[in-house]
Each structure stands twice: as C-alpha cells, then as structure tokens.
C-alpha cells in the first residue's frame, strides 16, 4: 500500500512517497535532515537554474531580433509582430519559492542586483519580488531606509 509521509523540518516539509516495504528506508532518509536539505536544495537549484536558462535563451533570441530591427533589417511593424511572439506575462510563483529562487540566483551571481535585474532573470514582477523578499534582512530591494 502506498502512502505519503510528510516530515516537518522546521518550516520545511519533505514528502516521501513510500510503500509498506520501503517505509523504514523512507523514514531513514526523511529524518536525516542533512541529506534531505542537500537533496531538496539540489532539486530546487536545478529547477531555478533551468527556469533562468530558459528565460535567458528567450532573451538572447529576442535580442537578436531587436538588434536586427535596430540595424534596419525589419520595419517597425514587422518587429512588433516578432516581439509579440516573444512576449510573456510575468510568471506567478509563490513567495517561498520566489525567495529561494532569488537566493539561488544571487548566490550564483555573487553580486547585489536590483529587483529590476532579478525581474529579467526570473520573469517576475519587481514589486512581487520585493514583497516576497521584504521579510528577509539581506534583501537588495528597491526600498530605501525610510529616514522620515
């Protein structure tokens, strides 16, 4: 019989799918927080980086078309039609995922970036990013320290 075992590591939840024969092993993995974190982080980083690479590839292809337009290869009408094909709405990701996604990107880049830059990399509305990151003290968000 298959069941889902959910284990709470502080605020992190790890769900392990298991059948009765594998329950013991599943628990062994679930309670090993170090292994679980490594596993979850690797999985999550992979997802974020795939998302960023896909975004950047889309940007690269769009920028080729944009440069072609600026070089006079397309008329404005032609370019607007092409740009229409590249346009995407902002992605909708929940705040926890977003904060972790931003952390992966910042970690990889190793520099402080604005919410506008992060927005380009993750295709997220900068305000949504700022709201998600607001609760974290490290955030390089747009809001300044309000002195008044």
């Amino acid at each position: 019989m298959e069941e889902i075992i959910t284990t709470d590591f502080g605020n992190q939840y790890l769900s392990v799918r298991s059948d009765s024969n594998l329950t013991e092993q599943a628990f062994a993995v679930a309670f090993s927080t170090t292994i679980a974190y490594e596993f979850v982080n690797l999985f999550f980083e992979n997802r974020v980086l795939r998302h960023v690479i896909k975004n950047q590839w889309r940007s690269f292809k769009y920028n080729q078309e944009y440069i072609q337009f600026l070089l006079g290869g397309y008329s404005e009408e032609e370019f607007l039609k092409i740009a229409e094909n590249y346009a995407l709405p902002f992605a909708k990701i929940d705040n926890v995922q977003l904060t972790r996604g931003a952390s992966v990107v910042l970690h990889v880049l190793g520099e402080t970036v604005t919410s506008g830059d992060l927005s380009s990399l993750l295709n997220i509305d900068p305000l949504v990013l700022e709201t998600a990151l607001e609760s974290y003290p490290f955030v390089s968000k747009s809001k300044e320290i309000e002195e008044e």
């Binding site: 900068p126 490290f138 390089s140 747009s142």
Partner: protein, 140 residues
Amino acid sequence: MTNRNSAPAAIEGSKIQLKGQDIKPGAYPIKIKERTMFPVNTYKQATGTILEESNPKTFILRPYSMLDKNDGISGKKLWGLSSNPLRNLTIGGLGRTSSHPGQDQTLNGNFCYLEIVEGWRGLPPLKHPKEELFTQFSLS
C-alpha cells in the same frame, strides 16, 4: 506636479520623458493585460516625467503610481515599461552633466511606466547576500 526621489514611487502615462546617463533596453517583452510592453532599465541616474497622461487616467500596474502631467521620479536606478521598443536615444541633450553627455528618450504608446528601484540614498547597508542567504535558508 509631484516629484519623488525615494522608493516606492512610480509614474504611469501615455508619454513619459526619460533622461539619464545609462538607459538600456531590458529583456524580452512582457505581456500585461493584453498589451505587449518593452522593459527598460536605467542605471547610474535617471529622471522620468509624465508628458501626457493616460486615458482613462487610472493606474494599471501600481496603486501608488502618480498619474498627473509633469509628475516625476528620479533615482539612481529605474525600471520601466514602454509600449514601443527603445530606439534612437538622443545623446547630448537632456540628462547632461559636466562628466557625461546625457541620454534621453521619450517612452510613448498607450501605456508607459517607470518606477524607482534604487533611490538617491542607495540601498540599505546589507550583509552580503552570498553569505547571508544560505544561512537564512539552511537554518529555517
């Protein structure tokens, strides 16, 4: 006429004058409410002023957006959207300083938007994200 230079501040209009020293197009276009919008980033310093108000004069993107003609924002770094792609920046006109010739561009179309992502006083004195982030996440 209101001018703001600290975040959060934004302007929305159908024509916005953007002047600065490092105006750059953003990544691929963004679809917002069936509109195709072209992102624009400015680094170093920039000022945006509404030349024409939106019609109807209501905010589309941010509830705190200023909407009146001649309302403006200025800051170190701005992020925005334009209905038309950036082209033919004017050099040596507006935004000029003793050390930089200045760049300016008029964003126009049905809807244009600019907001401050880093104001004049800069960002808060942060701990380095690279060190801080994973501490946060691995301990939470």
